[in-house]
């Protein structure tokens, strides 16, 4: 694995076989997720029922309390949160039956990969940035970090493909989409500063090669990618904080709005199918 990769040339494109495998794997995974039937659950007879007070435990009737929260910021905030995120929406045990495709799984896959990135990253930062170069255990933890990042981006991008083709921004979900793009953008910065923090040939060259784009924008005056200390701090603290914070917002927005209805619902799905035929 340490010898230089084989590169494929066609037209003006030059790509390494490992990169080609990753991209090919992502496309294959997306196609498989589209085509492989999702295990069917037995439908719940009734549509979703509102949670009963005893389910939510300490949550009182929001409408009644709304009448008395006038002027009390704390009670008003609590009521606003409770109205938007009742427990049965925050931790649901039912979901629409149309959420029945493997394509829906890539979001949670990306979250799981992020958890492993965070765990392996915390171990790496605890032992210091040179540890993984001199310890076989450290190299193994770094390898988990490396492959978790590859999985995170693969799942995030496939999730983005899926949400695009499902038009997941419909019915008041534009902000969820925008926050998702924000997570992806900050993740690219987090990965970039991670590559700069490797303390090896790759990090040296990425710093030299990447400085021109940063400097061209004027950001190089205070975001100096040749300054290892600055990049390391940003990588282990600021950007992960940004990714995780926006991820929390992303998840809360999903729990707030629920999962968007299928395109063409309900017409295309009616029993006699007069509006459209299945292609």
């Amino acid at each position: 694995m340490e010898s230089p990769a084989t590169y494929v040339h066609f037209w003006f494109v030059v790509i390494s076989v490992p990169n080609l495998l990753i991209i090919g794997g992502m496309i294959a995974l997306f196609v498989i997720a589209l085509l492989v039937p999702f295990p069917r659950h037995k439908a719940v007879a009734k549509p979703l029922e509102p949670a009963t007070p005893d389910v939510t435990g300490s949550v009182p009737d929001a409408a009644a309390e709304q009448a008395v929260d006038d002027g009390n910021w704390t009670r008003g905030t609590r009521n606003a949160i409770t109205r938007r995120w009742p427990w049965h929406q925050l931790l649901p045990d039912k979901q629409p039956r149309y959420v029945a495709s493997w394509v829906y799984m890539f979001g949670v896959g990306a979250i799981a990969a992020l958890v492993w990135i965070t765990i392996s990253g915390m171990i790496l930062v605890f032992f210091g940035p040179t540890w993984w170069h001199v310890s076989s255990t450290g190299k193994f933890v770094n390898s988990i970090h490396f492959w978790s990042v590859q999985l995170f981006f693969a799942f995030t991008v496939i999730h983005l493909w899926g949400q695009f083709f499902m038009a997941g921004w419909r019915h008041g979900r534009a902000l969820t989409w925008i926050v998702g793009i924000g997570i992806f953008s900050i993740s690219i910065g987090a990965a970039f500063t991670g590559y700069l923090s490797q303390q090896n040939l790759d990090a040296q060259w990425i710093a030299l090669n990447g400085k021109d784009a940063i400097n061209g924008t004027g950001l190089g005056a205070f975001f100096n990618i040749l300054d290892y200390g600055q990049m390391f701090g940003i990588h282990v603290m600021l950007l992960p904080l940004g990714v995780i914070s926006l991820l929390v917002v992303h998840i809360l927005l999903i729990r707030l709005r629920g999962i968007a209805l299928p395109i063409g619902w309900p017409g295309r799905f009616k029993r006699n199918g007069q509006e459209e035929s299945e292609s």
Partner: protein, 320 residues
């Protein structure tokens, strides 16, 4: 649907058949599966780690390239010396799109005099009791700038035919003034490893800023030749490549593509053009929900019919 009802799922899901779901179990399963896959990949494939280059290893492996680079730093003709902001105040060097030149807005806060920082400063530091070096430094500093330039021009020309033997660089005889002495000391300092430390020096004990040594190595040809071997150069789609046989930052593919095609691949301001273009495209992606033609594409492409199969719950939509 009213604004209030926008977040009311009971209203939104009216008439929608529901299925049992276990969010926590799904998350735990994903954590276990992804954890096992990560562990498996880490165990089977490890991770890339090509050793870093030091000024010591560079000057030892390719002394002629090192001396050529150091001479350019002293002459003020290196890439860094002519870079412009944020390293130098060379006018007209900054990238711009017409009058839009953000690179110049904050000046050169990381100012770096290449002759002083890379050559004269370190040599002054190590001169100590070295009379020959002290004398050469005094001669160089005491000379007029025209004389300095003449020595450096002659020496730089001679370096084209330079040879390296036993770690020393030899050039044809000529009138180079104190330059050969200065460069011999610079090379010896580098080969001993001292220059790596000197270039990191700041008023603090702890050092984490590698701007100077990285720029110095970037001006030479040795580091870029190693990057070339690993397909890391910008012209090789290097931004998305990795050392060894590992996948790189494939998610930078679009950023990388622009540098390979006209007009970007020949433009002096390619970096600024690409960054502005990518910023615009990212904004476009974020605003897809509000852009009529873009937001309609999913309904034209029937991929959604594979995701939401009518056959999976035919007829249930009219159960309300």
């Amino acid at each position: 649907m009213s604004r209030k009802k926008n977040w009311d799922q009971d209203t939104y899901y009216r008439g929608v058949p529901m299925a049992p779901y276990d969010l926590i179990k799904e998350l735990v399963a994903a954590l276990l599966i992804i954890g096992l896959v990560s562990l498996g990949l880490a165990f089977a494939l490890s991770s890339p780690d090509s050793p870093s280059v030091t000024i010591q290893s560079w000057s030892t492996a390719d002394p002629v390239d090192f001396v050529t680079t150091a001479s350019a730093e002293l002459a003020g003709t290196s890439d860094t010396a002519g870079y412009g902001p944020p390293y130098t105040d060379v006018s007209g060097a900054a990238q711009a799109i017409g009058p839009f030149a953000p690179q110049t807005w904050l000046g050169d806060p990381l100012h770096l005099d290449t002759a002083q920082v890379f050559v004269l400063g370190p040599l002054t530091t190590v001169s100590g009791n070295d009379q020959a070096l002290t004398s050469a430094l005094a001669t160089f500093k005491g000379a007029t700038s025209d004389q300095q330039q003449a020595w450096l021009d002659a020496y730089t020309t001679a370096l084209d035919g330079a040879t390296a033997e036993n770690g020393q660089v030899t050039v044809a005889a000529g009138d180079y003034g104190p330059i050969p002495t200065l460069m011999a000391s610079e090379l010896a300092t580098a080969q001993s490893g001292s220059l790596d430390g000197i270039l990191l020096t700041s008023p603090q004990f702890y050092q984490t800023n590698y701007t100077a040594p990285l720029l110095f190595m970037g001006d030479g040809g040795y580091l870029s030749s190693l990057a070339d071997q690993q397909h890391l150069l910008g012209s090789q789609w290097g931004m998305m490549n990795e050392t060894g046989s590992y996948p790189g930052q494939t998610w930078l593919w679009l950023f990388t593509v622009w540098y390979q095609v006209p007009p970007f691949n020949t433009a002096d301001n390619a970096d600024l053009l690409v960054v502005v273009l990518m910023g615009f495209l990212t904004l476009l992606l974020a605003l897809v929900p509000f852009i009529p033609i873009l937001r309609d594409i999913p309904s034209w492409i029937p991929i959604h019919r594979l995701i939401w199969r009518r056959s999976a719950f035919a007829g249930e939509a009219d159960s309300e």
